[in-house]
Amino acid sequence: MSYLVLDGLTKQYGSIMAVDDLHLEIKKGEFVSLLGPSGCGKTTTLQMIAGFVDPTKGSIVLDGKDLLRIPANKRGLGIVFQNYALFPHMTAAQNVAFGLEMLKVCKDELSSRVKETLSLVGLSHLADRFPARMSGGQQQRVALARALAIRPSILLLDEPLSNLDAKLREEMQLELRSIQRLVGTTTILVTHDQSEAMALSDRVVVMNQGRIEQIAEPYIAYEKPETEFVSGFLGKANSFIMGVRIEGGNVFGQIGEKKFPLRDTKLSAGKVIIRPEKISFCLQESAILSGKMKSRVFQGNHWLCQVETTLGGVTVIQQNDGKEIAPEGSEVHLNWKPEDMRSLNA
């Protein structure tokens, strides 16, 4: 059964639909990401759940209770803000204790829960330090501990890692995931970073212009994007117009001049996409497309290549397996398996 249900949730600012008829059901203990570019309505959705913004229409039901009838400070949700929003005049321990004091937890339990939560995020040794004397990553952990200490029914994360540098961000991603697994709190993450959403969540909700484009597990959303927006937002994608023709009982697809058997693929005529890492270089005879290597950028574990073809630019990602890559300006031939393509519902 669903733990949190958003039904027909809508927020309108003047003539702008910030969130447009959103339906979402989240199971207990699940980690769900709201993913999209800025202005897609993900943060507004989070703020409506938190109670800082009143929806224009729709309902939010948590565990059978109508959340909209409960004020923000009675909802019992844990929120981690983008800029941490730590209380600068309180030490780490006092920050964590704040929510527990509001719950009127007795003194002994309060201090043991503060200790417990700080050690959960690995900050026991900084309990008496003020936020101004902590690094960004440490402040982030205090903010997480503060939100978790009240044992919230839902943990809301508003772009929690976007202020950290790349290396620290990856570390915190792993840690956030393991902490969430450990405490089992239902979590909603708002982010514009697709790799963060995919690394952390059980399900990704891709949003665009106030609407949900697709709700799926990260792998499915990446491999089987339902819309062009999803395919472009989750990783890179090349898109082509494919024709379909039947010759002698066999179904063939056609891209440009080249025909290839479609066999059991569920592809239909129209727009298709292919991920750059699914394309490989080949000999001229087996090529689907040919073109000129426009640029190749070495990125350590892979090469990022731009190939100029008669159908436009094609991005190719080639694993760095030690083999030589065609130099810039040379003629290259591309090929991929038809079953790696996806048709987009136009």
Binding site: G51, N73, A85, F87, H89, A132, A147
Partner: protein
């Protein structure tokens, strides 16, 4: 170019200005405070503590100092209460109201101190609006005058000092991360608790620095206390003024001013130390 002398060279215009127009006059006042004065012969350049001893042993001057600091303290208290609330309300307003009311708050600073004080004198007099209003509402049967009372001085001073408080608190409020309020709410705090435990502690340094400013300005205010307070309720600046310009006893006036300056410096340094000790670790 980047020699150790460069900073001195660059700041020398300001330093010279400061020396000529601030240190030199105060220095001469300091010297004069040790001079001797007699009614027939005028001022004589000697070195005596007579003036200081006279002030420190005369109950008349005690009363003047007590009145000066008492009034300054009450004005500061009133400004803290009014100014903090006012700044908080202002910070929560939306435009265009915010700009409009900020202008209203800062308005007293735009009016000449004499005009403003005489305006208060019109209100305070026994035939003034306040007196007539109180009688009309039946609070009192006889005319009430706030002229030549400490209450009147405190009201008129508070009116002009509140803007300084509002500016100081306003600056502190601007530095607050608005998400801390949302964070406190989400952790179950009521709006009142948010103000008490999250907002006020964060703006306390601003309130204290505003309070220092208001206290210093109130204790050294001249026009308002001498017009509203009159000759009977003198404060230190108007007493010093009288010694200088009426009695012509410059050395005694200088000693009065020096003692006020020393007392103010002690208050300022103590308050600053307090802020630093309490908030040094919090705000880097």
């Amino acid at each position: 170019m980047n020699t150790p002398r460069t900073p001195w060279l660059l700041s020398s215009p300001a330093l010279i200005l400061y020396l000529v127009f601030m240190i030199a006059p105060i220095g001469s006042i300091f010297l004069i405070s040790f001079f001797e004065y007699n009614f027939q012969g005028g001022m004589r350049a000697t070195y005596t503590f007579k003036n200081y001893i006279e002030i420190l042993t005369d109950g008349y001057f005690y009363e003047i100092y007590a009145r000066t600091f008492g009034v300054a303290f009450l004005v500061t208290l009133a400004c803290v209460l009014i100014g903090t609330g006012e700044a908080y309300v202002l910070s929560r307003m939306t435009n265009p109201w915010k700009g409009l009311f900020l202008m209203v708050v800062l308005g007293p600073l735009l009016i000449s101190v004499v005009v403003r004080t005489l305006g208060w004198a019109l209100l305070f007099g026994s035939t003034g609006l306040i007196s007539q209003g109180l009688m009309a509402m039946g609070f009192t049967s006889a005319p009430v005058s706030l002229m030549y009372t400490n209450t009147g001085v405190i009201i008129a001073l508070t009116h002009v000092m509140v803007p300084f408080m509002v500016i100081a608190v306003w600056a502190a409020l601007q530095r607050i991360n608005p998400s801390t309020e949302a964070a406190a709410l989400s952790l179950g705090a009521s709006q009142f608790t948010v103000i008490r435990r999250v907002i006020v502690p964060q703006i306390t340094p601003g309130i204290l620095s505003g309070a220092i400013m208001v206290f210093a300005l109130s204790a050294s205010a001249f026009a308002t206390p001498s017009i509203i307070g009159g000759r009977r309720l003198k404060n230190v600046p108007s007493a010093a003024y009288d010694e200088f310009l009426n009695t012509m006893n410059w050395p005694l006036g200088a000693a009065l001013a020096m003692l006020l300056l020393i007392a103010m410096l002690i208050v300022l340094i103590a308050a600053n130390k307090l802020i630093e000790r309490r908030y040094g670790a919090v705000f880097d």
